[in-house]
Subunit: 329 residues, 2 copies
């Protein structure tokens, strides 16, 4: 099996690559070849005995998608996107990367299939940003898509295209709307949602972290490990079960900031919790107010997608996967 | 006021042009200039004293949208599309005309606004094809968009773009999902939905018509006059009332074929009804089975959009507007 990962240099792409290499197979088929693409050349994974190509590729550039697809990968993960904040600030770039990139990829696959029969599985990372306030406390699987950002609009359009290209038999698509990933590894970043991870990750390493919102704030989470699990499950899924509604809200954990902190206390003690400093930020408070709080995700659960049930579990996964099993500080 | 109609040569475009000319104003502003564009040169309307330009323009051709927008119309009606059957048969043409055409138009408006402040009202004809089976008996305003045709996919994507360009302040958009227009004037056409009009229009002129489905079949209708009313109301509407959910399911009449026929009997007698021949067509029966039957359209009604309440009314409108007030045969 030949797997192409577009967006392989990002956090999700690197963890997905590592998980695929560790498993050596997808759905029982051995992985013989990996093609890893991103706007910067991704690192080749350690310990993979098959063929690996790593390359720099801007999917929105003319011919780039066709060049990736011409080697006819059996399975494609399309993870590449510019994030919400940047898509909002740079309107043209957002549409170019997040919408045109997907359309070029779908067209390249369709045209390759016109040359000679070809219908790869395409796993696409969508986002809960396809939904927009006002919404109910719990968002059901059939809630409508009314994005309030250009990023969410681009993802919603990609979902529609994925459905139509799948219905026409050009590709075998699955779209997964990922929850907010927590605990996101690495340094604190500028994303408005960063604090949800920062207030756990930094104290677990003995470092102070800022909490800019109230402890009552509720949001929707999954660990990086769960997110990788969703993508691999999407690659192995019997897509006949999806009909032509090819995108799913992934399962996750609905929790308040207060519940995050109490889980931190149980796992790492009062000393860790004491490192969280309350510094309210009106701008972040107002943004977070418009974010979804909870999803039912019944459809994805019935299809076998699984996420964590407690924040204790999410914290333990971070300690295992990122801290070598040890709490620092 | 300068009005641009894209798709002015079609049935809706011609009736809209005539209605605008008859009224002479939109929302109290006199119409000083009309630009009528279509892939074939539209006819200039009779009785208009302002400036009229008629031109052939393929919105999907490079530069065409910019050429239309450079005269900075205050109000734009975008009615141009290829129909469902053709978009399904010719995948590339459907995306080029129905999606790229809209995107080029929105981009031309945005770029014109970057040159000098410009935010026209844009009224876009969407379609109930943005919805796909299975759906409930009555489709509510918040039902999700899961099209089962490329045409419906293209219209759903246009709605998302219209929302985002409006939210960003580039255009002041309103999308109207039109019911099936009945009684459609002119000759019977190849559209699978044609019989809904044929079984009334032809007998009203003393001509036989074929009914290919059961009398139990229920569908969603509005007269051509109501459709033009929706578009003009959309042009006059206070769009602050829409928020960023800029597209609406228009009101209509949910009726069975049997109810259509009984209305024909009341208006034109048994002789007219006797001209309808039952010739079941398995292919049409199967297609119609997947079409929506009824909408609540509460949101549009609360915003002042109005449709007919009975098929008797729809038939009388056809007799007034198309038959000079007289039943033929």
């Amino acid at each position: 099996m030949h797997i192409l990962i577009i967006g392989a240099a990002g956090m999700v792409g690197r963890k997905l690559t590592a998980a695929l290499v560790a498993s050596g197979q997808v759905g029982g088929s051995p992985i013989g070849r990996l093609t890893l693409a991103d706007v910067v050349v991704p690192s080749a994974p350690a310990g993979f005995t098959g063929k690996v190509d790593t390359l720099a590729s801007d999917l929105s550039a003319p011919g780039a998608a066709a060049a990736l697809v011409t080697s006819r990968p059996d399975l494609i993960f399309h993870l590449a996107a510019i994030v919400s904040g940047e898509a909002e600030a740079d309107f043209e770039k957002g549409y170019r990367i997040n919408l045109d990139g997907m359309r070029f990829l779908l067209e390249a696959i369709r045209l390759e299939g016109q040359r000679e029969a070809y219908k790869p599985r395409l796993v696409f990372t969508s986002s809960i940003a396809v939904f927009g306030a006002p919404y109910p406390e719990v968002i059901e699987d059939e809630f409508f898509s009314t994005p309030l950002t250009s990023y969410g609009t681009q993802k919603a359009i990609c979902e529609l295209l994925l459905n139509d290209y799948s219905r026409k038999g050009f590709v075998d698509g699955v779209g997964i709307r990922l929850p907010t990933i927590s605990i996101r590894p690495g340094k604190p970043n500028a994303a408005a949602s960063g604090f949800f991870s920062n207030i756990l990750r930094e104290p677990l390493s003995g470092i102070e972290a800022v909490l800019p919102v109230s402890k009552d704030v509720r949001h929707w989470f999954a660990s990086p490990r769960a997110a990788i699990g969703f993508l691999i499950h999407a690659a192995e899924l019997d897509t006949k079960l999806l009909g032509w509604r090819r995108s799913l809200s992934a399962p996750g954990l609905s929790a308040t900031v207060g519940e995050e902190i109490e889980a931190l206390r149980r796992v790492a003690g009062d000393k860790a919790v004491a490192l969280i400093k309350d510094i309210p930020d009106a701008k972040i408070i107002s943004m977070v107010d418009g974010w979804p709080k909870n999803f039912s995700a019944k459809r994805a659960e019935s299809l076998g997608f699984r996420a964590e049930k407690t924040f204790d579990e999410i914290i333990r996964i971070h300690i295992e996967d990122e801290l070598g099993g040890k709490i620092g500080g």
